[in-house]
């Protein structure tokens, strides 16, 4: 289930509840108002004390530049949606005798309110909008202090999901010319956790993405993650048996949601059962009895999709059965007549994944045309196939220890591979002449990190790692903010003070991490 399903479920609550809520008069807790006023006075006193004491402890209080440190408020900063820090350029080889100067600019011009239009002909409408994002220019000058030319193999890392990559993949230039880069893809940066509120400490049913800088520091503090990202993506050329179910025919009925269930038996010791297009399923490993159900067979607006039952390591034992039901519950007593065509064939899982990825990518309900084209431009189709295979092997039913989240075999889950956050590495080589220098610039859009509720809900976070995961020797690092007319700097560890015109600072190379919290003015 996803948030859209929940939204739809709420949409369908009974009429009387909607009516009642619309007319409901809330009880105002008047005594609370008095208490709140008193409490607010106490809170102000405590709050002021807290701020003062906090400022005394931070090394950059009142200072124009530098400072920060791992102690301080950034350690308390985590986000519901954390974009991750801007990471530094790194060298895989050839960096001995080369020093780097780095200058990072956060350009907040996307916050500028703009007018956009939509519609056609005479039916043109306009609206005002802005983006909570920064254009980051991460510029380096590499100096070769030896007396021989140095060829470096470089990696520019960016924390992104594939869906973000369409908008946010960095463009790298070397001495002003766009570099040809190869894309290497790191694994999902987050993890999995059990069900909230349940006694499920070892569970893996929920995603557990990285929500703070500390998570990335732990992940990238050695080169294990980066090295595994350099490995080629796998292919899943294993044979599978596929049952494709389509051509549904529903006898005239008053059923609210006619459905079709395919029931079958397999040997769970040898056979892994996956499916695509099933709306519900049951797996009983004890008896080997499985079923897959597809609903919505009378959808007036579009044909129901084919359902695929995919078997790896074995086949159905005996015959399968098909039965129609009035709804997607598939309960006894709700049977109706539904027929379908079942086609059995053998293929490889890789071939099937390619077909399903292609079908998914061409579904405009999932990938609107513009978004799909941009994604296809940014990430080759072969990479998407490999990524789906990798996901199944690492986390899904092709893994030796599938995550709970995917253990039921819905193949649709492989598409999470495209929306999970990763570190993408752009690889390229440069030659720095003896005694000379080479300029490298990465430009990218970075959306702000967000909280949906709480004190940070009306502002966005941007942060920067000074040396995490980098093999370069940095002689100097600077940071700046530009086009700040439409933002206010809520808090920051860089030392920026926009009101005083302090928009560029020199960073302390001993400090690993800098952050800022900005809000759209007004």
């Amino acid at each position: 289930m996803n948030t859209r399903a929940l939204y739809d479920g709420i949409t369908d609550i009974p009429d009387e509840m909607i009516e009642e809520a619309g007319a409901h008069r809330f009880r105002k807790s008047r005594p609370w108002i008095k208490f709140a006023a008193a409490a607010a006075a106490v809170a102000v006193a405590v709050g002021v004390g807290g701020v003062v004491s906090g400022r005394i402890q931070t090394p950059f209080s009142g200072a124009g530049a530098g400072g920060g440190g791992t102690a301080g408020p950034e350690n308390g900063y985590s986000y519901m949606s954390y974009v991750g820090p801007v990471l530094p350029l790194t060298a895989v080889s050839g960096a001995e005798g080369v020093t780097a100067e780095r200058s990072v600019d956060f350009d907040f011009s996307p916050y500028k309110t703009r007018t956009e239009t939509y519609g056609e002909g005479e039916d043109i409408h306009s609206y005002e909008t802005w983006d909570s994002a920064a254009i980051v220019t991460d510029a380096y000058t590499l100096r070769n202090e030896t007396d021989e030319d140095k060829t470096l193999s470089l990696l520019y890392p960016a924390i992104l999901s594939f869906r973000d990559a369409a908008d946010c993949l960095p463009t790298v230039t070397v001495d002003g010319r766009e570099a040809e880069t190869a894309l290497h893809i790191g694994a999902y940066t987050g993890g999995y956790r059990g069900v909230s509120g349940a006694d499920d400490p070892d569970g893996s049913a929920n995603l557990d993405p990285i929500r703070s800088w500390e998570g990335y520091r732990a992940l990238l503090s050695d080169d294990g993650y980066r090295r595994s990202a350099m490995e080629p993506l796998p292919e899943l050329t294993v044979p599978v048996t596929v049952y494709r179910v389509d051509g549904y025919e529903v006898a005239p009925t008053d059923a609210v949601n006619p459905s079709l269930k395919m029931s079958f038996r397999v040997d769970p010791e040898t056979t892994r059962v996956m499916s695509w297009g099933a709306n519900a399923l049951s797996n009983d490993a004890a008896t080997g009895q499985y079923s897959r159900l597809v609903g919505g067979l009378d959808n007036l607006y579009r044909q129901p999709e084919p359902m695929y039952v995919i078997l790896y390591g074995g086949d159905i034992i005996g015959d399968y059965s098909l039965q129609g039901y009035k709804n997607a519950g598939g309960d006894p007593g709700t049977e109706i007549d539904v027929t379908a065509t079942v086609t059995r064939y053998e293929t490889t899982l890789d071939e099937l994944l390619r077909q399903l990825v292609d079908e998914q990518m061409s579904d405009e309900r999932i990938y609107p045309e513009g978004e799909r084209d941009a994604l296809m431009f940014a990430v080759p189709r072969e990479t998407l196939y490999g990524l789906a295979a990798q996901f199944l092997l690492e986390y899904g039913l092709m893994s030796d220890a599938p995550k709970d989240r995917y253990a039921f075999g819905h193949l649709e889950h492989v598409f999470e591979a495209f929306s999970l956050q990763r570190v993408l590495y752009l690889a390229f080589d440069v030659t720095v002449p003896a005694g000379g220098s080479t300029d490298i610039t990465a430009v990218m859009r970075r959306d702000g990190s967000r909280d949906y509720i709480g004190p940070k809900m009306y502002s966005e976070g941007y942060d920067l790692a000074t040396r995490l995961g980098s093999m370069l020797l940095f002689a100097e690092q600077r940071a700046s903010v530009s086009h700040t007319e439409e933002i206010e700097m809520v808090e920051n560890s860089f030392g920026f003070d926009i009101d005083s015109g302090l928009t560029a600072v020199t960073l302390d190379p001993a400090v690993e991490h800098y952050w800022m919290q900005v809000a759209k003015k007004g």
Partner: protein, 185 residues
């Protein structure tokens, strides 16, 4: 004009059906649409589309509550509009609601029917019935009508943060109820 009379106009294919609907429910539908879509122009279009959809739906539909029926159409159109133009990042209302509702998602689906919209609505309904009248109205006003947290805070005479906390607790309760209802492990 009452609901039955307006619905009769639809069945008679009288164009007055639309104007009477707008007179009776226009402000309410605009509020729901604006809560979800944030931009007045989009909300206006969404309401117009609602009237169009209502015209196509009646007959044969004869809703018991025209208010709920029309509101549902508006919500469905709003979320479809949001999905189609998500890349433009224009629809803060739906985006915020979906993000908040993400808190309530149970871990995984494992029972037949768990995907069924109807079953989910039934589970939600049962859970809502167990709430106090205030909490029930609060949840529906936030997640059905899309009323702003600030608006609800004012109506209840509490601060915005307090209201956000109260809603968060409701979402946590809902999550537990969904899990108990077989929508997760």
């Amino acid at each position: 004009m009452d609901d039955a009379a307006i619905i009769d106009l639809y069945f008679a294919r009288s164009e007055n059906a639309i104007s009477e609907t707008d007179r009776q429910y226009g402000a309410y539908l605009r509020r729901v649409a604006l809560n979800l879509l944030s931009l007045r122009e989009d909300a206006e279009e969404c309401v117009n589309d609602t009237y169009h959809a209502a015209w196509n739906a009646m007959p044969p539909e004869r809703p018991l509550s025209l208010r709920a029926f029309l509101g549902r159409i508006t919500r469905n159109l709003a979320v479809a509009r949001w999905r189609n133009a998500h890349a433009q990042k224009r629809f803060a209302g739906v985006e915020t609601l979906l993000s908040e509702l993400g808190d309530c998602l149970p871990a995984r689906e494992d029972t037949e029917g768990a995907f069924e919209r109807r079953a989910l609505a039934e589970c939600l309904t049962a859970w809502l019935r167990e709430l106090s009248a205030d909490d029930r109205a609060l949840f529906i006003r936030r997640y059905w009508y899309g009323d702003a947290v600030k608006t609800l805070a004012m109506k209840c005479g509490v601060g915005e943060n307090g209201m956000a906390q109260r809603l968060r607790r409701l979402r946590e309760k809902l999550k537990a109820a969904l899990e108990e209802g077989g929508f997760s492990v």
